[in-house]
Structures are given as structure tokens and as C-alpha cells.
């Protein structure tokens, strides 16, 4: 099973709600104690888009961006690396990786990359 050590979510010790990113108090019960929860397994695609008007720092023609849910219920946004939207559909399983997603001042910024 893949482990996405870079995607660390926080599970409320009191009520179990999973948070990603972290919050100072639980969104449900306002508890302040959390267990770290590393995103695990394949990522199920919940929704996605392909955008053509890109902000600063991208030298590609378009980006495909989606929100996924990992097997252990952690949800996160990531870039889907695919040539087009062909074959991409909600509910499909994607393989996660931690790779460069953007350049800032010549430096690579790493993030969640998803492969069909």
C-alpha cells in the first residue's frame, strides 16, 4: 500500500473527525487534541477540472486538478498528470505521488500528484 507521508491529516481524539489541513480546534467538537494520520492507499477521485488560464509559476498549457479521498478517508487536492481528460472520471482510483507541482523563484514546490 502507498503511504503519502507528506500528506499528514489530523484525527480529533475526542470525536474522530479527520482534518486536512490541520486546525487549532476540531471543526465538529472544538477539541484540541489530534492524532497524526498519514494518507494511505489509492486515491478515489471525487471531482476535477481542467483549467486553461493559469496563475503565475506554470509553464504548461493547462492543469488538471482534482480532489481525492484516500482509503483511510483523508481528502486532499492534487494535480492529475494526464495528457487530457479522456478516461478521467469521478470515482476512479488514482496512484498518488509526492512530486514538484510548481516553480517558485526557480525552486520546485512539491505536492500531491495523481496518476491514472
Amino acid at each position: 500500500m502507498n503511504r503519502m507521508d507528506q500528506i499528514v491529516a489530523y484525527r480529533c481524539k475526542k470525536c474522530g473527525r479527520i482534518h486536512y489541513p490541520c486546525h487549532d480546534r476540531c471543526l465538529d467538537c472544538k477539541g484540541r487534541d489530534f492524532d497524526r494520520l498519514v494518507a494511505e492507499g489509492d486515491a478515489k477521485l471525487l471531482t476535477y477540472t481542467q483549467i486553461f488560464n493559469l496563475p503565475w509559476g506554470f509553464e504548461v498549457r493547462f492543469l488538471i486538478i482534482g480532489i481525492v479521498e484516500f482509503e483511510n478517508k483523508v481528502k486532499a487536492m492534487g494535480q492529475i498528470h494526464a495528457a487530457s481528460l479522456e478516461g478521467i472520471h469521478a470515482g476512479m482510483l488514482l496512484k498518488p505521488a509526492w512530486q514538484p507541482v510548481r516553480q517558485v523563484a526557480g525552486e520546485a514546490v512539491y505536492g500531491l500528484v495523481l496518476y491514472p
Binding site: T47, L54, P55, I65, M77, G111
Partner: protein, 396 residues
Amino acid sequence: MRDVAVIGVGIIPFGRRDEDSLLDMLAYSSLKALDDAGLGEKGVDALYVANMGAGILQHQTAIASALADRLSLLPCSADTVENGPASGASAIKNGVLAIASGYYDTVLVAGGEKMREVVGWKATDFVATLTHPQVEYPYGITLPGMAGMLARLYMEKYGLTEEQLIAVSLKNQRMGSLNPYSHVEMMITKEGIHDHRDAIVNNPMAADPLHLYDMCPVSDGAAAVMLCALEKASQFTSNVPVVVAGFGQATDTHTLQERDDPTELKAVTLAAQQAFARAGLTPQDVDVAELHDAFTILEIVESERVGFFKTGEGGKAAERGETALGGKIPINMSGGLKARGHPVGATGVAQVVDIVFQLRHALPEGRQVKNAKVGFTLNFGGFGNNIVSFVLRRAE
């Protein structure tokens, strides 16, 4: 608490205004509102200025202090209000509270943004800075991208169609062509943006499944309203006062991924419910509404969440013409953000200006909702994480 009224309004044509600075635009719209309210040669107690991006786009801060000086409103209190794309309605809300509490009698609220002096990717990037800096922004997500993801979920869950989105686009573009303050004056046809074999050239995909004509333009512009205690309004003007009958504001999670159901837009529902409860009115009492259609999908979802239509029915209602002039609930008779334009800090103020025109019965045939008595606005901040809405009524 005292009743608060809008006694003056001012707006300048939105669009590309290379000749004007941000402060110029704020000053022009403010002077119009002061004159309209009969305060052209008087001071005000307080000034609130809505602006999202001058610090980034113009490298200028403390806009309210600068505007108070230009308008010779000294020594009034002056604050800049930044609440993303809902800055305009937030600034008005603060003015309403200040008067309702009895602290001030007269408050000028101006909202403005100058977005066209930077290149397109900079403007897109500037708005994207409201997304989460660690778990959203680095991926290159934009506000159109967020709207695209919402539209896809809506298509899957409720059977929303491209034709329903186009119905909103055509209506708002048609209304914008009749509005002298509108950024986009061009009429479009369904053939030109959808049916014709070359339509994809005119209307390319922008944020799948949304096309170019599902998006609002990037605009310069400003608008202003003069607020006053209702009991004192007649001291200044014979304009029919428009009473701020209620406002509502609600927040939601910063990221889309942390909402149990991102199609719910809970903060929209809550803000509208609060505004109606405070006003003692219901969605069925509303004669005309200005909703935040930065993307066509938003007008549809908002029209459901605020209570005009049942969930999943907004798109069909738009396609049947129920949101057009003469329909069940006319929405965005100004052209909305889609056609009037979306200079972010100005938008929430411009929405109230347009409803005031409607409730004064001041618009020409073709835009005026006959005998409109109650109006509604919804200003959508973040991607649905900070919503401000107003119920306005014509004072009898």
C-alpha cells in the same frame, strides 16, 4: 436598534479604465452618492472602503484614509474593509451596524478595484491568493477551477446541463447590454457560443466543464452608497429611502475538500436565512435579486440555497425563464457580475446600488421590475467561505 436606509447611490461604468487610478474611481462614485443623498457640500460621520487587492495590485495601502482626504471628509472615521470578493457587502454591513447602534448618523461606503493594469495571469493569481496557501494554492487552482469542480459535482448529482448554464449566461449578457454601467455591452446568442460549429473558438473551455462565457470578466470599477439613520433621512434628501431590512453573514471551511458536501454551500443558506429572519420576510417576498454570478453555476446554486427554488431546480428554472424579467424571481437585472463586471471590492456595493435603482423604480422599461418593493443581494467571498447578504425594502 435604529432602522438604516440607503439615501444615495453612485456607480461609474465598469470595464477597462486605464485613465483612472483606484482612488479616482472611488472618488467619482463617492461624489455621485454624496450628491444623490443631498450631502454634496456636507461631511459624513464615517467612511468604509471595500477593497481586496490595492496592496498587491497597486502597491498602495490605507485606501480609506486616502479617500477621506481626497473627498474632504476629514476628520471622519475611516476604515478599509477587506473580505475577499465579499468586501463590498462587508463594508456596507459595518456601516449598517454603526448607524443601527446609534453611534453614527451618516456613513459613506465605497467599494472599488483596479484589476486591469496587471496582465491576466497576475490578476488570476491575485484572486487565487484567497485559497489555502499550503493545500490549495500551490497546485495552481484558481477560482474558475473551483467553480468547474462545483459544476461537475452538480452535473453528476442533480443533472445540471450545459444548456442551463448557457441560459444564465444569455440572460445576464442581455441585461448587461441594457445597463450603461456594464463592462460587457455585447449581446451573445446561443448559436454563437454553443450551437455553431465555430462556437468553440468564441467560447473555448476555460475550467472544464465551464466555458469562457460562464465566467465574469476581469474589471476596473467602483460603486458607493450613502447610509443614514432612517429617522434622519428626510433632513438630507427627498429620495425614497431604501431600508436595510436585514443582513446575514456566515463562514464555511477554508478548503473545499473539508466540506462534507461541497455542493451544499452552507454559508449561502445561513447568510440568507439570517437576513430574511432579521427582516421578517421570506424568499417568496422578494421581487428582484442580485446574486453573485462570478460563474454561471454560482447563480444557479445560489438561487436554490437562498430559497427561491428547491435544490436541483435552479438550472431548470433559469432555462424556463423564471429568473428573467417578468419571471417568478428576476435575478441580476443589472447583468450581474457576468456582464456588469467583477472589480472584486466594488461588487457587493454595486449589487446594492442596482437594487436601490430597482426599489426607487428608477430604471427604464426592459430592466425595471414593475412595482418592486423588496430586493435581495448575495455577495460570495472566498469560494463560498464568507457570504454576506442583504434584504432591502422600499420605505412606504
